[in-house]
């Protein structure tokens, strides 16, 4: 997944607080976030464009949009 140049914002999940409800998965337009093994959500940093839809939807508000360091 070639990340678009200049698009450096990515979603990041505070996994300790994630309730694995999957609300984020349903709204992600790029299928960049998945609930892994029923424990926590995980972001595919290669796909995520940092649009923030998941963060808005997350009932536990554990997703933040961060400037990617790499």
């Amino acid at each position: 997944m070639g990340a678009a140049v200049g698009r450096r914002r990515r979603a990041s999940v505070d996994q300790g607080g994630c309730v694995a409800c999957g609300c984020c998965v349903k709204v992600c337009p790029l299928s960049a976030i998945q609930v892994v093994k029923g424990i926590t959500a995980q972001v595919d940093k290669g796909r995520c464009v940092g649009c923030g839809k998941c963060a808005k939807e997350c009932p536990a508000s554990v997703i933040t949009i961060e400037e990617a360091t790499a």
Binding site: A20, C21, G38
Partner: protein, 193 residues
């Protein structure tokens, strides 16, 4: 959206129908056992939360009412509500109340107590509900269980609606006992505590 709607995206209709049916005939409440065993079986056998992630009609109902219909303030839930202490505490409380309900059902089966045709909301308020019961071919205990189980379902829906309005649409999922329990099962099963 990134995907077309699947059949399971309409399960909110089943959840809504369930609540309505129970208003007319309480014995339909027995069907609610499905929302109890299906998520548990998926978590135990499949080791995932596909029930929450896909099939849960109640969650969809909150998404619809709070999201599409805008009946939600869309604020963050308070910190304590998403703490493990509260989530696990609520799970335990829910189970204690559930077993009390089973105990009352047992008493009716044993003939030690008469059938009480009420739906108990929020474990406190007794709502008359006698119109939804016109006798059963089985033991009155089966009806007592139906009244009790419907009480559980209605109470959780009402709590969910309140937190939907106050916070984000699916705030209920933060402290939903089924959600907490299936996540716990998945953690244990997939070896991450």
């Amino acid at each position: 959206m990134n995907r077309t709607k699947k059949w399971y995206d309409y399960l909110w209709i089943a959840s809504l129908t369930y609540l309505i049916l129970g208003f007319f005939n309480i014995l339909f409440a027995w069907l609610g056992l499905l929302c109890f065993f299906i998520p548990l079986l998926i978590a135990i056998i499949g080791g995932n939360k596909a029930y929450c992630n896909r099939y849960c009609g109640r969650g969809q109902l909150f998404t619809l009412l709070g999201g599409r219909f805008g009946l939600s303030r869309r604020r963050d839930v308070p910190r304590w509500m998403k703490s493990r202490a509260f989530r696990y505490g609520f799970l335990v409380f829910f189970f204690v109340m559930f077993f009390l309900m089973l105990w009352n059902t047992y008493l009716v089966f044993a003939g030690a107590q008469d059938l009480r045709q009420v739906v108990t909301l929020l474990w406190t308020f007794k709502l008359p509900w006698h119109w939804a019961y016109r006798g059963t071919l089985f033991h009155p205990g089966t009806a007592q269980f139906a009244f009790g189980f419907y009480s559980v379902m209605l109470t959780s829906t009402v709590l969910g609606l309140i937190t939907m309005v106050l916070f984000k649409p699916r705030s209920w999922c933060v402290y939903c006992p089924m959600g907490t329990m299936t996540q716990l099962i998945c953690r244990t099963r997939n070896g991450k505590v």
